[in-house]
């Protein structure tokens, strides 16, 4: 009798799940972002919505104007720094589940930047994971990517071609140190163009004490303070703005957003060599187009082997790709017998800048925003689940 009961309930669940899946997907690409109709919330919306679940604080994933935001605890200070004052932001621990209209949501480390998360969505036993941006390579500034089992995996695909294979980050850091010393020998600083949120701090952390005296562009400085506040160990830095204009920059490492490298701001560094750190620097044409002296391959996204490894680890039968070179990877996944496709989103990928917003005006002069790390009291938008979700699903 109990056995029959189990069989009955399991088949009922199976039938219901199947019917539900046929009726509508758990997450789909809609006009304002990735939408979960059952839970009535949006993931990384690109236009204002009521409820936004955020994977990370980069400008194309975290946009102002939403009524409420849900972020990972490590992302809270960054979200505060990036959103207008008074924005309603709630934070959860990695792995802590909340429930919204019966849909269970939890955030898990994506290894992209500080506080970046994959969004795990579970409804009637069906599990979807939205990766946000992620990487598998080690990064001393954020929690490592956590593989999650799921039925459907919505993955980024920024570098979805086999030409993208990252060199070891330690070797890239060593090359940076070498370039800085080479510049020092000529009495010059080294100018490193790296996205203000994530890349800059990762490069600094990788170089450690060999980073030398470090000066930061205002936009980088602001985010670096947030990282330090979160307890990320970083070498000592100073703000360029705090140093005298006629400063002797010989031997310094100056870190700025890529867009600042060739602007008026950078004129004070004279003939200092300019270096860009980005996955796009793999291709010679991209290096030459940016007109820099050297292009180092350092990315916070998964490379081709990384994408394949991450997708395989989910055990997902269906894989939907968002931004980047999606067609080749879709083809490869289909050849492996997976149900694969592309979701149309407005996350930057193909446009040629690894981190969207990298070329947007930087808020150099802007005073640091509220980076108060104290968690805002839970507003009760979400029902907190008392347990952590079981990330293993029998796919």
């Amino acid at each position: 009798m109990p056995i029959l009961y189990v069989v009955w309930t399991q088949s009922k669940a199976f039938v219901l799940n199947t019917l539900h899946a046929i009726r509508q997907p758990l997450v789909r690409a809609a006009d304002r972002g990735l939408f979960c109709p059952a839970g009535d919330f949006w993931i990384d919306p690109w236009r204002p919505v009521a409820r936004a679940v955020i994977t990370h604080a980069h400008a194309d994933h975290l946009r102002p104007g939403c009524e409420s935001y849900l972020v990972a605890r490590e992302c809270l200070a960054l979200a505060r720094a990036r959103l207008p004052e008074g924005a309603r932001i709630e934070a959860v621990e990695y792995g802590e589940a909340v429930t919204l209209n019966g849909v269970r949501i939890s955030l898990h480390p994506a290894g992209h930047v500080l506080g970046s998360a994959q969004v795990r969505v579970e409804h009637h036993g069906e599990v979807w994971v939205v990766s946000g941006d992620y990487k598998l390579d080690p990064d001393p500034t954020c929690a490592p990517f956590e593989p999650l089992r799921c039925h459907t995996f919505i993955s980024e695909c920024t570098f979805g071609l086999p030409i993208y294979r990252w060199p070891a980050s330690a070797a890239v850091a060593a090359e940076l140190v070498r370039l800085r010393r080479e510049a020092a020998a000529q009495g010059l600083p080294l100018l490193l163009g790296a996205y203000a949120l994530g890349k800059a701090q990762r490069a600094l952390a990788l170089m450690g004490d060999d980073a030398g005296p470090v000066a930061l562009h205002g936009a980088v400085d602001r985010i670096t303070h947030v990282y330090r506040g979160a307890g990320v160990p970083l070498p000592e830095t100073q703000a360029v703005a705090d140093l005298p204009r006629k400063h002797d920059w010989a031997g310094w490492l100056v870190v700025a957003p890529p867009s600042a490298l060739n602007g008026t701001w950078a004129r004070r560094f004279g003939r200092a060599p300019r270096v860009l750190a980005s996955g796009w620097m793999t291709v010679r044409g991209a290096r030459r187009r940016r007109g820099v002296d050297a292009g180092l391959v350092l990315s916070d996204h998964a490379d081709w082997p990384g994408l394949l490894r991450a997708i395989e680890a989910t055990g997902a039968g269906r894989v939907l790709l968002t931004h980047g070179h999606t067609a080749p990877l879709v083809r490869v996944l289909r050849e492996r017998g997976l149900d694969a496709g592309t979701l149309r989103t407005e996350y930057a990928g193909e446009e040629g800048s690894e981190e969207p917003g990298a070329d947007a005006p930087t808020h150099d002069a802007e005073a640091p925003g509220a980076v108060d790390d104290a968690a805002e009291a839970s507003t009760g938008m979400y029902d907190r689940a008392s347990d952590t979700p079981d990330t293993a699903v029998d796919a």
Binding site: L161, I163, T282, R284, R288, H325
Partner: protein, 565 residues
């Protein structure tokens, strides 16, 4: 190979010529003669005869990488360079075996040529394992042909000069006339011995002109300048020493292709070098050259010495390594000299242009009297009373098939290379038509991954017919904007080509127009490029095929576009 690959990367990484020169000097100071000879030869833009067909190279790479054709094609589209695509896909972990550049080329690259594809594939797989993965790109560049590393020949020679102490101008002079890479030639090149000895058949480095933007008024008094036609042929030097030779500006030996000119040049006194333009003349009923006919706009003194045939006729001669009798008779070549570089074996290049010109005209007048069938003529100097008069002449350039005017400072020395300021080319404004962007393709090199190669169409009976491809003329910011448009407005994809929504209008400039079977429009334009983006103009108001044909016919053509359906 390792050292040369490192040099390549250093040159590629820097935007500064000083840094490039230093890297070159360090390389040449420390390279064995055979290695240095090959390195210089490659850096000067020379290329090996293709050792392996591209098809075999691709197949070998796919075999080594384990990639299918579609994935390889996607990668190639993103990279825009075959050598680089292959290098990025090769397995990592190759290790350099210490073989120098010259032995790599002589023992592993050149011998590939002509082998069976299977053997080539096997040898390529071995070769890729004998270089550091990071250096595979440079090896692949040797395998696919050119190196193209953003180093001009002049810069490469400055590097050699810094390493050897021999002045760059001397090096340039020693290298003109088909320099081949060998240890002996390298030693001779950097030898401190006198440069003039054993000049042989070598031409002088060609003096180049710069385009004149805007009008000539900025040049000062017109009386200091000589005006000449800018001929629509190919630049050449006639060298008459022990024998006679014709050299192109690319230091290519044209003796076999222009036996008619070389035969006439043998009648010049020895120790003569002329700079001028190679053209094809029209023939009369008797098969001889005919006089140019005067036009309303031009005096007799302003006409070329003989009637010239259009550029297409010269192309027929250039297409033949050694022309037959019939072609020599129907397409006779002429040489219009405009400068004298050597007379009686003496280098005249430091003398003023006026003096060189006068001596040249006297020399060629005597030549015309002594030669039974003269083919070498002095190009006319155009008499002008002021800049406005020069402008009027320029406007008439198309009447005689010229591209515009050359303005040269009368007191200037010939110098060598691209010295700025004394020679200007003042070309005619191009023809232009407003056309609609219909197809786009990703570019190569610096423009890899961006949609920069466009096909343009004009209206004909309510349909857009493509007539030209153009790549140049837009700013980087405009290119990025068009690139975004292409990505968002792709209607259909044909391999690497995207058909886009017919929306963007550009003013396309071009030099001439000819019937063509290759273009759907039935016409083809010469040197098409984008003059500007007509953001003010909707596609419906772009130009028409009838407009193009009218332009062509206004040049004296009677063009009926010969359509092929």
């Amino acid at each position: 190979m390792k050292r040369f690959a490192a040099l390549y990367r250093a040159l590629d990484a820097s935007n500064r010529s000083s840094a490039k020169e230093a890297a070159l000097a360090a390389y040449f100071a420390d390279a064995a003669p055979a290695d240095a000879a090959w390195a210089l030869w490659l850096l000067c833009g020379e290329r090996l005869p293709q050792p392996v067909p591209v098809r075999v190279l691709k197949a070998a790479a796919m075999q080594v990488n384990g990639l299918d054709e579609a994935l390889f094609a996607d990668c190639y589209e993103a990279v825009g360079d075959l050598a680089e695509t292959i290098a990025l896909l090769l397995p990592t972990g190759g290790a350099d075996d210490g073989t120098p550049l010259d032995r790599w080329i002589a023992e592993r690259v050149i011998p590939l040529r002509g082998l069976e594809p299977a053997e080539q594939t096997a040898r390529l797989a071995v070769a890729w394992g004998q270089v550091d993965s990071a250096d595979a790109f440079v090896l692949n560049k040797l395998l696919t042909g050119g190196l193209r590393v953003g180093v001009s020949k002049a810069l490469a020679l400055r590097g050699v000069a810094a390493a050897s102490g021999v002045p760059a101008t001397t090096l340039a002079a020693r290298m003109t006339g088909g320099w081949t890479p060998s240890p002996q030639n390298w030693d001779a090149l950097v030898s401190p011995a006198d440069v003039q000895a054993g000049r042989g058949a070598q031409p002088y480095p060609f003096r180049l002109a710069h385009p004149l933007d805007g009008g000539p008024e900025t040049l000062g008094s017109h009386a200091d300048w000589l005006a000449e036609w800018k001929w629509d042929g190919i630049r050449g030097q006639v060298v008459r020493r022990e024998s006679a030779h014709l050299w192109s500006r690319g230091d290519e030996d044209l003796d076999a292709a222009f036996p008619d000119l070389v035969a006439d040049a043998l009648r010049l006194p020895t120790g003569t070098v002329l700079d001028g333009e190679v053209l094809v003349a029209q023939t009369g009923a008797d098969g001889g050259l005919v006089c140019a006919t005067a036009t309303t706009a031009l005096d007799e003194a302003e006409l070329p010495p003989v009637a010239l045939a259009p550029f297409a006729a010269l192309q027929r001669r250039l297409g033949r390594k050694s022309p037959g009798k019939a072609l020599l008779a129907s397409h006779p070549a002429v040489f219009l000299a405009f400068d004298l570089l050597e007379l009686d074996g003496n280098d005249w290049r430091e003398r003023p242009l006026g003096e060189r010109r006068a001596a040249m005209e006297a020399l060629l007048a005597a030549h015309a009297r002594s030669s039974p069938q003269p083919r070498l003529f002095a190009a006319p100097v155009l008499a002008t009373t002021d800049w406005a008069g020069a402008g009027t002449l320029r406007a008439a350039a198309r009447d005689i098939g010229a591209e515009g005017l050359m303005l040269k400072r009368a007191a200037s020395a010939y110098g060598s290379g691209r010295t700025r300021g004394d020679w200007w080319k003042w070309k005619l404004d191009p023809h232009s038509v407003d056309a609609v962007l219909v197809y786009a393709q990703a570019g190569h090199g610096r423009r890899a991954g961006l949609f920069t190669d466009y096909t343009f169409a004009v209206w004909d009976e309510g349909a857009l017919v493509p007539f030209a491809k153009a790549y140049s003329g837009l700013s980087d910011a405009e290119i990025r904007e068009v690139d975004r448009f292409v990505r968002r407005n792709t209607l259909e994809t044909f391999g690497p080509v995207r058909q886009v929504r017919a929306e963007l209008v550009f003013e396309i400039g071009f030099e001439g127009i000819l019937p063509s079977r290759r273009h759907k429009a039935g016409v083809a334009v010469r040197f098409p490029r984008m003059l500007r983006w007509r953001q003010d103009k909707p596609a419906a108001e772009a130009g028409t095929l009838a407009e193009l044909i009218a332009l062509a016919n206004a040049q004296g053509g009677t063009l009926e576009p010969d359509r092929v359906g």
